[in-house]
């Protein structure tokens, strides 16, 4: 049996070979982008119009909250970030490698999607998981 970690989200692909990536689908009729696979477009209702595609590993910070209180056992503070991926698709995840203060978290900051162990969380069968996170990218000029 493989020791490959399981994906922490339905739209995270952990292939046998090669790097993990986020998977989305785009409607060929109205261009709406969704996370993961789907049969019918939630925007235009198009059927048979959804095309699976690999989403970008880069994006910009659209919105966020700095979470100081969460459910019992969840380590705080952390930055809950909404990121617009380059080329389409919006995902939510933790913004890491940044000081969790409003001064350090800046709208539109470019971020890289990185794939790391799911904070040591195991499921009831003791299996490991792989999650995605965002890290700040240096501003390119």
């Amino acid at each position: 049996m493989s020791n490959r970690p399981l994906p922490a989200a339905d739209y995270l692909v952990v292939p046998d070979e090669g790097d993990p990536y986020l998977q989305g689908s785009r409607c060929s009729e109205c261009d709406a982008v969704f996370l993961g696979d789907r049969a019918v477009c939630g925007r235009c209702g198009g059927r048979g119009t959804m095309r699976t595609e690999r989403l970008s590993d880069r994006g910009i910070l659209y919105s966020y909250s700095i979470v100081h209180r969460s459910f019992p056992g969840i380590v705080v503070p952390f930055v809950s970030a909404v990121v617009d991926l380059d080329g389409g698709g919006t995902v939510k995840g933790n913004l890491v490698d940044v000081i969790p203060t409003p001064e350090a978290v800046v709208f539109d900051m470019p971020v890289q999607v990185v794939y790391r162990d799911a904070l040591g969380r195991l499921d009831s069968a003791g299996k490991r998981y792989l999650a995605f996170f965002f890290t700040p990218l240096p501003e390119t000029s």
């Binding site: 922490a8 909250s65 979470v67 969460s70 380590v75 952390f78 933790n94 995605f132």
Partner: protein, 381 residues
Amino acid sequence: MTDAYVVGIDMIRFGRFPDRSVPNLGAEAALMALDDCGLRIQDMQAFYCGNLGQANRMVGQRILKEIGQTGIPVVNVSNACATGATAFREAWISVRADLYDLVLAVGVEQMGKGLLGGPGGSRGIPKEGLLGSGTMPAVFAEAGMEHSRKHGTTFEQFAKISVKNHHHSTMNPKAMYQVETPLDTVMNSEMISYPNTKLMCSVNVDGSAAAVLASERKVRELGLMDRAVRIRASVMTSDPWQERDLVMPDVNTCTRNAASDAYEMAGVGPRDLDLVELHDCFATAEMLHYENLGLCSDGEAGRLIDEGEVELGGRVPVNVSGGLLSKGHPLGATGIANIHEVSTHLREEAGVRQVEGARIGLTHVIGLGSCCGVHILEKAA
């Protein structure tokens, strides 16, 4: 089509009643609303009951077991935080459709303390704190920060909303809390999810509210027009597709659509409103809805709170009841409690918090997921 009116409406003081049952709380409000118009359960031809926590447990029928099993049709509804407004609207539809002349709507909820929202995902591992946050304070913080991003709205401006609503609640004997919270107290209370501090989060409480709705001919026949409240508009929307709404629930578009439909139905505009009770589940949310409801133009919400236009005595007082932030937010009851507040002002029975000369008011609730309910109410007499 007949007009529909509120003839009886009331709510219990919101609080924590762990020793009582959900039907028992709902029954109390139902009897209060019936007493408010001098009618009996035997006069009601149908009953619409809103509750979330026991949505599959026939709360409406269990209420009738406490106050009179008359055999009328009972419809139990559940629509997140718009549950009470949905029950009210179903009652309104039945009167407008000429099915019934007198109907009862009840909203009731019993809640625990603590954070709302799910840990995320039913299988595998918990997603909270791994793939961002799904707690309600964080979700509404992210919605508020979208406003900051667009308009430069500050933490202090969000906090001022909480100062205002807590101040209003000191004049409302039915509010859970009646405590002044100055700006530094709000800003320095425990940070839950930036920019929402603990005092910028609504209070989880138990509560119930109820209304008796009547057709125009019935109001006249019973001689109840003096204190009646005319329902000028009742609108419900769901959230149309938005590019980010898979990860960022959109409470804006459904509110804008509902408000615009409601103004059209009522034949009034936001400038005609004397007061508004809107869905301040978090301070960040109230800021968004000033613009969503057209109380000001886009980008002006921060100025509205800075200049006191939404305080009691201001141009358009918002959440004079104390709002969900201080009156409390028993999910299923909130939509009818908001209608109770506006009706109380239209009846000139709001005591020290009375909005002078109030003739038209608007209520608004959002159920995340999402749905929006808007009602426009007018003094009948």
